[in-house]
Symmetry: C2
Subunit: 261 residues, 2 copies
């Protein structure tokens, strides 16, 4: 990737976490330096994650523990975007939610009412304590007219054991049973992108989306009209995407290479 | 439905349970009399149910308690058909199963090995104690090469509270997450029908399929080449199916009307 001297300068960055900053509990090569590089140049950025289970505080803590600088206000999760979306549709809406702390915290902080019946919205986020009763209640509420919103459509989550079900797979219980299609909020959907840009305070042309996953990070950037940088430190490889019609704006093995360009 | 004096005489019957013999804990009008009628004429029949959670003994007990005569060997469940199917594919196969007593009992009685890893088959039946860990294990086994078999594809189950998720909806977590399509065994699939006919000992032309649910019972009968009798005592109505291309052989409001014809 030579001859990119005239590469566009971006005013802000949206940076994926899993596969870009860390893998499980391990920091990815170049992650800390990339963040220091952005901060050194005074370039604002947001960490943008489909992870709905953790709060922004918890994720910032995790990053700091790994040696990657992060403030809670720099973390934007699919749960935060979901809560903002619902609040914009109907302030103080009644919400039946399935999920973990990050989702409940985000919904409550937006002033939404967590209920078990007569919900305006059923919201689904990853829940490692999922139960038949929770899914049954969600189906009954959707059949009674509640809109179905899902934090993200990821079908699988990489773990040390292999690929386990993601929130998109869990959400399918409700959509298959009721025949109602969910509104997905997280990457690659535009809903999370427009809110992240607004929070960052820049236009799409001024921001670079950085991530490892072609189907979420890169597609999210492309769909929302941002330039994209794909790194090969996570899920997708350049080999597997080489024949795709739509290519990332930049492809670099890792963030070291990107900074060194 | 006059002028059916020359109606075909059937040598055997396959009779649905939920919506045909009972609704929840309540016996349906004409159910007990219909069974007495068949027994009085010495006509063999099987109760044919997609319910995978109960054993044949438990279901026969339930029917007898309701005043509908039933022997365990007259009950054929999707779990029994699933166990027979897997055993015919690979005797003594290693099976990772999610389900309830009816499924585990059927698999064990067929000599299949219930395992948690290195499974040849992942089998999914309704499980009111479903958990993320069970679904995760199922996905890992399917990704490692296990075939995915599901007792039945019912997307919803009618209850006093309304329609709650059926096994087909739960199975979608695994199929959506792994991209592997399940082999469904229960109605309307031909797998359960061919096994039920074999157990009854008659050819498809000699047997009448009786049920209330167009999408499971009647389609199952049609697909397997049986004549079908649809009653209106359960889920489907004649009104909603009136424009369908494929109609049941007979339509009677209830089993009393059928016997009185």
């Amino acid at each position: 990737m030579k001859g990119e001297k005239n590469m566009k300068r971006y005013k802000g960055y949206l940076v994926d976490l899993d596969g870009t900053m860390y893998k499980g509990k391990i920091r990815i090569e170049g992650a800390a330096e990339f963040v220091e590089h952005l901060e050194g140049k005074g370039l604002p950025f947001l960490y943008l994650t489909n992870n709905s289970s953790k709060t922004a505080d918890q994720i910032a803590d995790k990053l700091n523990h790994m040696g990657v600088r992060a403030k809670p206000e720099q973390v934007y999760t699919s749960s935060l975007a979901t809560a903002e979306y619902i609040s914009s549709e109907k302030p103080e809406a009644r919400v039946f939610a399935i999920g973990e702390e990050g989702l409940f915290d985000a919904l409550e902080k937006k002033g939404l009412k967590l209920v078990k019946e007569r919900a305006d919205f059923v919201v689904m986020g990853i829940d490692h304590d999922i139960s038949y009763e929770k899914l049954a209640r969600a189906c009954l509420e959707v059949r009674a007219g509640a809109a179905l919103v899902s934090t993200n459509g990821d079908i699988a989550i990489p773990t040390e054991r292999g690929l386990v079900p993601g929130n998109g797979a869990l959400t399918s219980v409700i959509s298959v049973s009721t025949g109602v299609s969910p509104i997905f909020v997280g990457k690659p959907e535009p809903l999370i992108m427009s809110r992240a840009l607004k929070r960052l305070g820049y236009e799409k042309e001024e921001v670079l989306m950085v991530g490892d996953n072609y189907n979420t990070d890169i597609k999210a950037g492309m769909t929302a009209g941002l330039d994209t940088l794909m790194v090969e430190t996570g899920l997708s490889t350049f080999e597997e995407i080489k024949h795709y019609d739509h290519q990332p704006t930049y492809k670099y093995k890792d963030l070291h290479e990107w900074m060194r360009r």
